[in-house]
Amino acid sequence: MAVCIAVIAKENYPLYIRSIPAEQELKFHYTVHTSLDVVDEKVSAMGKALVDQRELYLGLLYPTEDYKVYGYVTNSKVKFVMVVDSSNTALRDNEIRSMFRKLHNSYTDVMCNPFYNPGDRIHSRAFDNMVTSMMVQVC
């Protein structure tokens, strides 16, 4: 499903970034970086519009011919960015939302780990396994 998953800190540096296949890593790093602008735009736009409930799920950030980029932001302004293959049209919004929810839960677990310092790169194996389960697909 997902080809690349990234967790970006509040200050916009990556806490965790992983992509398959590994050769395309640089391209995905660049994609995630450019999508951060869109995330910031959405977050500030939502702040100005007088909505009572702001959603954590940001939705489709932008599509290209090869893939689509989705975003999600937590209460502590940590962003999750997910890049999915466009050829996989079977993915519905609900599934993306549930993937983000799983990411958020795993991230919360990492945060509550007393051996983890907020702001460090994420090395947790449990988090790795959860991400792998979301990325391993028909290759």
Partner: protein
Amino acid sequence: MPAMADETLFQLLHTQVVAAAYGAGRGSGDEGLRAGLTVLEGMGFRVGQGLAERLPQGALAFREELDTIKFLCRDLWGAVFGKQTDNLRTNHQGTYILQDNNFPFLTQMAWGQQYLEEAPKFLAFTCGLLRGTLSSLGIESSVTASVTSLPACKFQVVIQKA
């Protein structure tokens, strides 16, 4: 399903944490007292950061500072202590006073003035907790606590202006 012993366990653990922060000869004199308070506050800060991720149920609904402080009074206090704060006051200039007339960490001690000197040790962790949660939600602050008569206490939150 919440276990029924949760609150008691947390109180007992907290009592031990305070004792440990002052044990092993660290607690003597003013220097020792301040060092212990710093350790406890630091612990609370880290826990607050984790709590800030777990607690808010799904919505970025805090449009103003006041909403965030109200969230602290209701949801954080409810999750950690099983009750809400009794009073919230503000001067609308960035200072908030959260008052709890029956603070769970102080109820087990003799009510009144007898343990006024020891009380700050039992409030340091909670001060850090508030500061950590606020910091994760994007608000830098400084939190202090004051007691005039157990078990009522006040937490003063001062928001740092950028």
